[in-house]
Structure formats: structure tokens, C-alpha cells
């Protein structure tokens, strides 16, 4: 099938303004958007820059805005876009370093700010081995363990566009993952971080994040659970 492709191009300090390159291309309906980008780079313009690594929806490198919606280029088939006009742009709300590559550092800073690691300084169990957890306790935070830090959610959030100081959905998802882990002991500390002006209260329950997540994490639900835990001071809900 024939597609009309439009790709955002920008090389800071080159003197050129941000613009779109247009291509009319022959592709297979079952090609992924990532394949289309590879084809452009092979056949038309080797200078086109984007991130990719696994090409199978695991590493989270190739999140971008495809026809106005955030997704992983390696998980979207051309035929599923329901249009032969395809526009590819970098993630919104993060500075463009080059073409489709954005500066992920602010995003990772927010991730780090929620202490996304296991905290428990108490004595190990008597046998000196692992701290046990029941399947139900594990199930409680299963959904939020799936995050691959692609930033599709955070950069789809109008609250994040308006103020980059908001920690954003991805950081909250990762806070949730540890807040609800029965083996972790720093929930109170993390809830305090979440309760700050840059925390969960910036969320307007818009659901753009949940709609964008390539791992189908119920992000708005996780955020709402954290909000509720802050209000009630209790973790079970």
C-alpha cells in the first residue's frame, strides 16, 4: 500500500528550523511504524535520528507521537492506523535533541525522585534468606511492575506539558509499585513525596496516560490509589 509519511525533523544549532520531511512510500500493511522509519533511513535519508533497541516492545526506547497519539513505533502496525497519512513526531513536553530523539533526563530525574528501589533495613528472616510474600500480596502491585519507562504516558499528560516539574504518571506508577509492596518499609516517605505540590494532585484524571501505555498498565487507577492512600492514610483500598 502507498502511504504519505510526514516526519518531524530538527537539528539544533544547524540553523534550520524544526520542519517536516514528506515521503510517499510503498509499504506492507503489516509493517510496523518502526519498519517504515528503518526504510526511510535505508532508502531516503540516513541522517534521520530516532531511538530503538529491542524492536519488540520490551526496552521502551522508541516511544513517539504517531498520528497525534503516543505509542511505541515497534508495536504499531501501519494497517492499524486506519489512515494512509502518517505523521510521526517526537514526544511532547521533553526537549528535542534531534529529530525524534528527546532529552529523557528530566523524565528519569522524576523517576529517581520517588525512590524507585526496595527499602527495608529490618533484620532478615531467621533463615537469612528472602523475605516472603503471599501471592495475594504480590498481586497487589503486579500491574505497576510492568513499566518499561518509555515515557509515552508522562509525555501524553497535559499537566506535564504545562509544568515539567510535575513528576508525571510514570514516576507515580513506579512509586505505586513500591508503596504497595508488602516487603518494603518506605511507603510513608514515598506518600509524602507524592503529596507534594509536584506530586499526584497535578493529575486531572484525564486518562491520556492510560490510553497511551504500551503495556496496558492501569495508570490512572494507580494514581487514584495513591491519592486515596494519602487522603485516608491507609494502604488498603
Amino acid at each position: 500500500m502507498q502511504i504519505n509519511l510526514k516526519i518531524f525533523r530538527y537539528l539544533p544549532d544547524s540553523g534550520n528550523k524544526p520542519h517536516y520531511d514528506k515521503y510517499v512510500m510503498e509499504v506492507n500493511p503489516t509493517d510496523r511504524v518502526l519498519d517504515v522509519l528503518e526504510q526511510v533511513r535505508a532508502d531516503n535519508d540516513p541522517s534521520l535520528a530516532y531511538r530503538r533497541s529491542c524492536a519488540h516492545g520490551v526496552c521502551g526506547s522508541d516511544a513517539m507521537q504517531i498520528n497525534g497519539h503516543n505509542a511505541l513505533a515497534c508495536k504499531v502496525l501501519v494497517k492499524d492506523l486506519d489512515s494512509t497519512d502518517i505523521t510521526i513526531e517526537p514526544l511532547r513536553g521533553l526537549n528535542v535533541l534531534r529529530d525524534l530523539i528527546v532529552d529523557m533526563e528530566p523524565f528519569f530525574d522524576h523517576f529517581r525522585s520517588v525512590q524507585p528501589y526496595f527499602i527495608n533495613d529490618s533484620e532478615l528472616p531467621a533463615d537469612g534468606k528472602e523475605r516472603l510474600q503471599s501471592p495475594t500480596e504480590r498481586e497487589r502491585f503486579d500491574d505497576t511492575t510492568k513499566c518499561i519507562l518509555c515515557a509515552a504516558c508522562t509525555s501524553s499528560c497535559p499537566s506535564f506539558w504545562a509544568d515539567g516539574k510535575y513528576v508525571g504518571p510514570a514516576a507515580i506508577v513506579n512509586a505505586h509499585r513500591f508503596i504497595y509492596d508488602s516487603r518494603d518499609t518506605a511507603a510513608t516517605e514515598r506518600l509524602e513525596i507524592m503529596n507534594e505540590a509536584t506530586g499526584v494532585w497535578r493529575c486531572r484524571t484525564i486518562f491520556n496516560c492510560t490510553e497511551a501505555c504500551p503495556r496496558d498498565i492501569k495508570i490512572t487507577k494507580a494514581i487514584a490509589e495513591v491519592k486515596k492512600a494519602i487522603i485516608t492514610g491507609k494502604l488498603e483500598n
Binding site: 497525534g68 497519539h69 491520556n208 492501569k218
Partner: protein
């Protein structure tokens, strides 16, 4: 790009679903309501400071353009109120609505309830404009 520009382009260009549409409508209707309140406080204060100007202000309110603006204003107040209740209810009371399908349908319900409340009011207001400003319906 400034965050203002990023946000504005995102509002228009990002293809969010019902949630984004209701968020945008909430902002617009909120601004509309705030603007009305400001004007209303100012014009009411005219009664005290400049009584002649006050009656002039009331005449301006009776014009068709203002009448249509007021019909839009009623929509703004109703949508902003109903949607505000929806968001508070979803956020604080109803965990079962924390899913995409439920959120989408809650937005559609909000719009339906707003229209049901608004249409009769809009009808009456339109009737009054036509009657008083255009002499229809024996006015």
C-alpha cells in the same frame, strides 16, 4: 519551545479521547464562568458608584449578542459544575470507574446530563430574546 506553546499545541494536536475533551471543556467553561463572574461583580458595583451607568449596563445585557452569550454561559456553568462533580466522584468515591471504558462513558453521561439541563434553559432564554428583541410570539 515554551511550556505554554507546548501545552497549547498539545491541547489541539494531541489525539486524546473523551478524558482530554472533557478536560479541555472544563478549562474553557471554567474561564467563561470566571469571566462572567468578573463582569457581573463589576456591573453590580456600578449601582453603588455610577447608578446611570448601571441602567446602561442592563440595556447592553438586553441586546441579542449578550443574550446569546448568556445562553453559552449557562452551558459553561452547567458543564463545569456537572463535570466537576464527575471528577470528584471518580477520584474520591468510585474506584470502579478507574478504567478506560468507564471513564469514557462517564464523560458521555456528563455531556448528556449537561445537555438535558441546558436545553430547556436555552429554549426559554432564546424565546425571551425573540420575544423582546424581535417582537415574535406576540412580544
Amino acid at each position: 519551545m515554551s511550556s505554554f506553546k507546548t501545552t497549547m499545541i498539545g491541547y489541539v494536536g494531541y489525539r486524546g479521547r473523551e478524558g482530554q475533551i472533557s478536560f479541555l471543556l472544563h478549562r474553557i467553561t471554567g474561564l467563561g464562568t470566571a469571566l462572567f463572574l468578573t463582569i457581573h461583580i463589576l456591573d453590580t458595583s456600578l449601582v453603588y458608584f455610577f447608578p446611570q451607568l448601571y441602567s446602561h449596563a442592563i440595556d447592553v445585557y438586553r441586546t441579542t449578542a449578550f443574550g446569546i452569550g448568556e445562553i453559552a454561559l449557562v452551558f459553561s456553568v452547567l458543564f463545569h459544575g456537572v463535570n466537576g462533580l464527575r471528577v470528584a466522584y471518580v477520584d474520591l468515591i468510585a474506584p470502579k470507574l478507574w478504567t478506560i471504558p468507564k471513564s469514557r462513558s462517564s464523560v458521555r453521561w456528563t455531556l448528556a446530563v449537561t445537555l438535558i439541563l441546558w436545553l430547556p434553559a436555552a429554549g426559554i432564554m432564546l424565546y425571551n430574546i425573540l420575544r423582546h428583541n424581535y417582537g415574535l410570539f406576540g412580544g
